[in-house]
Amino acid sequence: MNTEIKNIKKDYLIIGNSAAGISAAESIRKNDKKASIAILTMEKYPNYSKPLITYYLAGKLDLDRINFKDRDFYKKNNIELCLEKKAVMLNPQERFVLTGDGSKYFYKKLLIACGAKPAIPPIKVRDENESVSSLDREIGKIRGAFTLTTLEDAVEIKKYINDYSIKSASILGGGLIGLKAAEAFLELGININVIELSEMLLSASFDKTASGIIEDRIKQAGSNIITGQTIEEIIINNGAVLGLKLTNGNKIKCSLLIVAAGVLPDDAIFKDTAIKTDKGIIVNEKMQTSIPDIYAAGDAVKSYDILSGQPKNLAIWPAAVRQGSVAGMNMSGRPAIYKGGFLMNSVEILGVPVISLGLSNAEINASPAEIKVYIVHDALKKIYRKILVRNDRIIGVILLGAIERAGIYYGLIYNSIDISELKDKVAREDFGIIQLPADYRKHLVVGEGIEV
């Protein structure tokens, strides 16, 4: 490592080379053609799309195609990309970021877009030959046990599968990343056990029916879903995974374990600063943190959920891109506002596409008077559509099978459109723009229908 470089001065410094960071850099460059911009990343890959790592794992993409911006993006926009530069400390008083190699990056404006890190639940590990298990072993250090949030992770898992001719795998966590990993393994013909603590898959956004349909599909394909359970103990041998003991006492063999128990905002470097955090950096609608000239965006922040009206960590790609671009605009002197967002997901398991939007299972904890549910379920055609309505506004959607036109609901949720006239139609398969209130439709279709 080059220890010569000590003090580097930049107009704009961005920590994080992903959705939020890059889209911020792009919008800064649009407004400010001259300023110096640098992006720090602790990883060794130029830019890649996180959501694509499971596609890489599945063999649908190779490393050449995993970038979401062209390779010459940095050059074209005159942005300095600093690979393998891990930010280890932030000094807001003197306005610099210290990196692992001892360099100081001074900034005029700083964006923190360092994303999230995998959450790892406390699991005991026991060597096959020992009788006591311990909590101290780092799961990442066990051979055959992985988290899956970076390209590096995916590259290593792939290598491991090839090296050891892996035929089955266990996934801890039936959330988004767990399901994406499941999708990849099934594609590769690897049998899986998905171990999920709650009663269903993707409990944050599915419901029993949707989850049931997907579970059936996975089971039909010869794999296994274990709900209501978690791993009590990982059994290892010679530093490699051998098996798992579940909370109900059952034991399963395991040669590859993916720990996909969610992500947490990464707050290591600003822990000792005055930046306000609460399970994520607190930002305002301009994406400003509590310290002037320091902005934050993406998975690292707690932004605003328009459906609950509460600050929320919206760890999804589209939100990171939007927030990044709003932050970039404000940093470079063009006022912009992030109105907020809501959670949404699109997954496809074994050819069954599912899209969920907003508070898609909020009816479970609400009275029928408060939240009305409209459902169309056609088991034969493998179609399930559920629309949740509160105060005549759509707040949640699950579409399984026929997902086309899902975005119309996104628009209705985002713009909080009164759908009281449409209740009998809203879940139907032929629901379209034409049923929408004339004003909204006019705005969409005629004339000014050009901006959203």
Binding site: L52, M344, P353, I403, I408, I434, V445, V446, E451
Partner: protein
């Protein structure tokens, strides 16, 4: 910047726009061949909605601040700064349907027959007038030129 203007009042629901869009995006580009020998599954990128005597055809609005572009996880969906056209690079697209999830007009389709990629209006970039506009018998679709705000 070209945009398609939809005049709901005069759409007669004939769906010729859909038919010619299918032909345009077929291999042979010949109507009989496209429907006959080859791909009965070619998707029309324009979509006619109809209830009673109300109808209109809708295709991608090529939004200025396009939600599909920011939602795209692969970088396949991009907006051409010069032409304003939002296009999906079928080679890059991985078929995650994030774009379908957010397009408020619901005009992106899943093209499963030819690989697995998002299919949407490309404004017939190689034609002077998009084929849906050209073949609409009642001028319910029109092409309008927009001043480029960026400049």
């Amino acid at each position: 910047m070209k945009r398609i203007f939809i005049d709901e009042k005069y759409c007669i629901g004939c769906r010729l726009c859909e038919i010619y869009c299918q032909v345009k995006h077929s291999k042979s580009k010949k109507i009989l061949k496209a429907f006959r020998e080859g791909q009965p599954d070619i998707l029309s990128r324009v979509l006619v909605e109809e209830i009673g005597h109300d109808s209109f055809a809708i295709q991608c609005r090529h939004c200025d601040d396009a939600p599909c572009v920011s939602a795209c996880i692969s970088g396949a969906m991009t907006k051409n700064e010069k032409t304003g056209v939002v296009v999906c690079d079928q080679e890059k697209c991985v078929g995650c349907w994030s774009c379908i999830m957010v397009c408020p007009y619901g005009v992106i389709k899943r093209d499963i027959s030819s690989g697995k990629a998002a299919s949407k209006c490309d404004l017939c970039v190689d034609e002077e007038v998009p084929v849906c506009v050209k073949n609409c018998p009642n001028e319910a679709l029109k092409i309008v030129q927009f001043p480029d705000e960026e400049k």
